[in-house]
Amino acid sequence: MDLIYILQQLLNGLQLGFVYALIALGYTMVYGIVRLINFAHGDVFMVGAFVSFFAISSFQFSGFIGFVETMLLAMLACAVLGVVIERLAYRPLRNAPRIAALITAIGVSIFLEYFGSLNFVFGPNYRSFPRPFEVQTWDVGGLRISSIQVIIIAVALLLVVALQLFVQRTRIGMAMRAVAFDHDTARLMGINVDFIISVTFAIGSALAGAGGLLFAIAYPTINPFMGIMPGLKAFVAAVLGGIGIIPGALLGALIMGQAEVLTGSVLSSVRDIVAFGILIIVLLVKPTGILGKRVTEKV
């Protein structure tokens, strides 16, 4: 294995890691604010990929503008979906035992997968995803960099930075941090907790929608069950970095991406074992995740 090969694999890992990061952010935000493992999040990601698919194939979106239009549409659709799921399925259970909400989340997940598989919705088959732009590849000293990789990394970085600024610098972001810290106190401070939770679901789901489009561009086959594994791994990534912490989700996702691609390049059949093995070891050494502190600031 020469250096270029290793660098190439690192680059591929980076591409996968940034897609995971977009999904992991939604997990981490929702967990931070309502302490719920939102298992339906991976399926929101799947819906994002399908919305992109229909946008590109029916509106003939193409080129860079088309890509942006597709992404905005997917993000909007997923944001609406996330808010609706929260309103109908999770909000009535906010004061029930947490396990009830978790089971409901799994129910929503199964519903989205199988409802999506119905013939008049998305259909059960694998579909090949039309890329809105031509793929270009540049050769940098033997390292092959594709336009897909550049776009994924650029878009994901942009969204992560925007999210971090939003959470840290705006009034709504401050309210989100307050609600994550303590619902009741936040309500006493005049914060509309329900609204803030809806906003959190909207933002998290929109990021998953963007992730769905980017994932489909990079690995262009989609089906209604495509969200399960990336969803699980992104969730693991969020835990790895320290759940509830935005930079932690990014860090965890990048580690997961690298672990998966690097072990995949050696022995592809065991890559899930390595990825989840890392998770268990990290949990045992530092249960709150890599960036987690004993008293964490959450969103």
Binding site: V34, R35, L36, I37, A89, P92, L93, R94, N95, A96, P97, R98, I99, A100, A101, I103, T104, I106, G107, V108, S109, I110, F111, Y114, F115, S117, L118, N119, A180, F181, D182, H183, D184, I228, L232, F235, V236, V239, S269, V270, D272, I273, F276, G277, L279, I280, L283, L284, P287
Partner: protein, 340 residues
Amino acid sequence: MKAARLLLPLVVVLAVYAVLQILFMTEVLNAYWEKIFSLSAFVTICCLGLGIIYGFTGQFSLGHAAFYGIGAYSAALFTKALQVDSALGFLVAILIGGASAGLVGFLIGLPILRLRSDYLGIATLGFGVMVKTGLDNTDGLAGLLGGDLLGGARGMTGIPPLASFTWAFGFLVIAVIVLRNFVYSNLGRACLAIREDEIAADVMGVNTTRYKTIAFVIGCAYAGVAGALYAHFYRFLHPSNFDFLKSVDFLMVVVLGGLGSITGTVIAAVGWTFLLEGLRFVLPSNLLDFRMVIYPLILIAMMLLRPRGLFGGNELGPLKPPIDEPQPKASEARSPGVTA
């Protein structure tokens, strides 16, 4: 008085068994239904195991199907490799299934049971995915075992047909009795104390690590026994039968029945198996695709209407606590705002 307490349930159990067996023999219920009844017994045993871990001890597990799979594969490997065809050999195989799942549960439980609530769930989820991936890649073991016995991702075939409805029913009854006696023993009391408040239990002198591990190992052994029975009834094992979704199935049953309720778990497990199969008959053939759409909707509706499960920690008949005392309450997770 004590004899009378035990006599009635014994008669009921024997009557249920006799009626079902007569219905199967006279073919009022065909072989398909015998399969469904047996399957519901396997699912129930496995869910009772998860009930010990989660319902009674409060340790969240999202990887129970892994132990079901370990039990199934190890028992099947034993009978297939040694060409077992006697009932005694099968009994040994079932014990091997239970013991191997229990042993793996001990080895993995010892380190990860230190984790709390969601983190434990995630660690067990990770372990479940690792076992499933491992079962997918057993081809490398073919040399070690002297032949392709486990079948890897193609699935394991050629398992001798040793199990029957009688085995399933018998082990289900044993599982319920053992669990009932466990729950009302000192051991079970310690587990309940851990579920209600781990720190308080620790302060009261309960060795929490010890009892959590005991509960976890017993729960895993239940899953292993259920897996061993399943393997010899269906005679085909595939790694995808033991994936994350199967773990979720078991968890749903335990929660639907009501955490910390043996009665609820049994009813929910049987009801759930029959609901899934029953939808095949109720739905017209052109709407069969909707089966898996209706199922999560029922699940969500159940959770919204009865968030504490069907029985909410209560029991029926002989499963009630042996002396008059307040019923153990299902652990009540506080609202997120309060716990933060």
